[in-house]
């Protein structure tokens, strides 16, 4: 009992840290197997929620490890349930506007490239960059800026 409890607690804590969730299937219910990376939650309608927003460093289009993990899950999901997706790239307000458009596109492309690498059909992915035109949050602090350097998967 204690073992299961601690396993769940450990997994929960880890999933909090990684911010990811998995749709690993019913096998998990049989044994208290500790999944080292993700935790799954199941709603009644059987949909799974993966992070759809990925963040970046200033002037960079490099994906974080967390982003990669989430994207791999997305790739799997799309493999079984193919649909068209739209990747919207954004940048924070600093610097020039058109350069930020290019940066947003870079980021969206990075996400697209990973998905394609994971087997997603390229023609089902649309990428658009909004540059700094549509900020998620208003303000001029590093905190706000970090929230705006993103790609949204829709």
């Amino acid at each position: 009992m204690k073992k299961t409890y601690s396993a769940i607690a450990f997994a929960a804590a880890f999933s909090l840290l990684t911010g990811c969730a998995s749709n690993k299937n019913t096998d998990a219910s049989n044994a208290a197997v500790v999944e080292p990376t993700v935790e799954s939650t199941q709603s009644s309608t059987n949909t799974v929620v993966i992070d759809t927003t990925f963040y970046f460093e200033f002037d960079s289009a490099d994906l974080t490890t967390a982003a990669r993990s989430a994207l791999m899950l997305h790739a799997e999901q799309l493999a079984s349930n193919p649909r068209s997706i739209r990747l919207e790239g954004h940048a924070d307000e600093r610097g020039s506007r058109e350069y930020n458009m290019a940066l947003g596109e870079r980021r969206a492309n990075a996400v697209r490239d990973l998905l394609v690498l994971q087997g997603v059909n390229a023609s089902s992915i649309e990428t658009v960059s909004y540059g700094e035109e549509q900020a998620a949050e208003q303000g001029s602090s590093e905190m706000v800026w970090s929230k705006n350097r993103r790609v949204e998967l829709k």
Partner: protein, 433 residues
């Protein structure tokens, strides 16, 4: 035949000439060099024009605001004026000198029924003489234009530089709330008056830019849910979509002769500079690499394009000759230089420049490479140079709102244009036309 002068005469001659020269030397020949001055604005008294009371526009206030905003003038307050002369005969120079005015502007407005005619005179108060005497007229809707024409004439006479008070600008307004017209492309007088919305929508509008003849503008709009480049004819309002490529369609810029657009497309992999022939729609690729190349601006001779690129590892400004060349780097100071704009005389560049983590507008002399930071505000972007090359507009923030700022090219004058609602940004200063 000239007789030879007797020696006695010569002797006397020498004596007298020497004596005279000695007497001459006794007078002063002191030379003093004045090699510094002040940066103070010149005080000018602008007297309310006779016959201009109660009109829809206050000509005196417009002229005064224009000249003060240029940064080179101080306007003597109306309340301090002892008299309101309207012509030379009524001017008592001493009175104006006492007020501290160096110059005096007076005038008289006549209503001719279908138009107004204003006769104005400018006086040098210290030298006590008139230096400008002219008449300007305009339709009854043209009071602001009349006032700006007077400001231009006074400014040019006293500074030697053509005025920009009658010029126009474009800017983008973002209401910052969901709306069918959240984003607007606005056309207005350069002092912000008489704004006219040319385009509005719920999707972003950006990068407005003028053709050299002032008849067309180009811009990027997301109205199709993707960025696309458009050209609008100002007289008719007619819009033409010029691109619809996959990926980026951005940063359009008219060539000096108005026949081509330089623009950015990423359809072939990464953002590159292309040139589009407007009439034939023929597309020519200018850069071809895996880097970000964007924000093209034409050189004044139309042979090169100056653009932003991160090909060197950091964001810098490059120039490429359209016939042949490889891109050549222009900026070497600072770790971020972008969004170049060439001055009308082709001698300098303005750009967004990061220094100590702060984004300012900087100017760079193309020949020497000397760079100067022009603004003291930060988070500055989108510089646009005035057609007289003496000032520039740019976008900045003030009290958490996007506003337009203006600074002179010698970094001496700074002021802000307030926004009416939401954010304003991306100013594009119209050319003289």
């Amino acid at each position: 035949m000239i007789k030879k002068l007797p020696s006695a005469v010569i002797k006397n001659l020498i004596v007298v000439v020497t004596l005279s020269l000695v007497a001459l030397q006794a007078s002063a020949n002191l030379f003093i060099e004045i090699n510094r001055g002040n940066n103070n604005p010149t005080p000018i008294a602008i007297v309310p024009f006779a016959g201009a009371n109660g009109l829809l526009e206050d000509i005196q206030a417009i002229v005064s605001d224009d000249l003060v905003r240029s940064g080179f003038f101080d306007s003597i307050p109306k309340a301090d004026m002892l008299a309101f002369p309207k012509s030379q005969a009524e001017v008592v120079y001493r009175d104006w000198k006492m007020l501290g005015a160096s110059f005096l502007l007076v005038g008289e407005l006549t209503n001719l029924g279908d138009k107004y005619s204003v006769r104005y005179q400018l006086f040098d108060v210290l030298a006590q003489k008139p230096i400008l005497n002219a008449t300007v007229s305009g339709g009854s809707n043209g009071l602001r234009d009349i006032a700006h024409a007077i400001s231009d004439a006074v400014y040019e006479k006293l500074t030697g530089i053509r005025g920009i008070f009658s010029t126009k600008m474009l800017y983008v307004q973002d209401l910052k709330r969901p709306s069918a017209s959240r984003y607007r492309l606005v056309y207005a007088d350069v002092d912000g008056a008489r704004p006219r919305v040319l385009l509005s929508g719920s999707q972003p509008i950006l990068s407005p830019s003028w053709s050299a003849d002032g008849k067309r503008i180009t811009y990027v709009s997301f109205e199709t849910t993707r960025p696309a480049i458009y050209i609008m004819e100002l007289a008719t309002g007619r819009k033409t979509q010029m691109t619809n490529f996959k990926g980026l369609n951005g940063a359009p810029s008219f060539s000096p002769d108005g026949s081509r657009l330089a623009l950015v497309l990423s359809k072939d992999g990464s953002p590159d500079i292309y040139v589009l022939d407007i009439a034939s729609r023929a597309l020519t690729r200018v850069t071809s690499d895996q880097y970000i190349d964007t924000e093209p601006n034409w050189s004044t001779d139309g042979n090169s394009v100056i653009f932003t690129s991160n090909r060197g590892g950091s964001v810098q400004i490059y120039q490429v000759n359209l016939q042949n060349g490889r891109p050549e780097r222009l900026t070497f100071e600072g770790d971020y230089n972008a969004r170049p704009r060439v001055s009308p005389d082709g001698k300098s560049l303005v750009m967004v420049h990061r220094s100590n983590g702060v984004f300012h507008i900087a100017s760079q002399d193309i020949a020497s490479g000397n760079m100067r930071i022009l603004t003291e505000t930060y988070l500055d972007e989108s510089p646009s140079i005035a057609p007289n090359g003496a000032m520039l507009l740019y976008a900045t923030q003030h009290n958490k709102r996007g506003v337009l700022g203006a600074v002179s090219m010698d970094a001496g004058v700074k002021f802000r244009l307030p926004s009416t609602e939401g954010d304003v940004r991306e100013p594009a200063w119209a050319p003289y036309f």
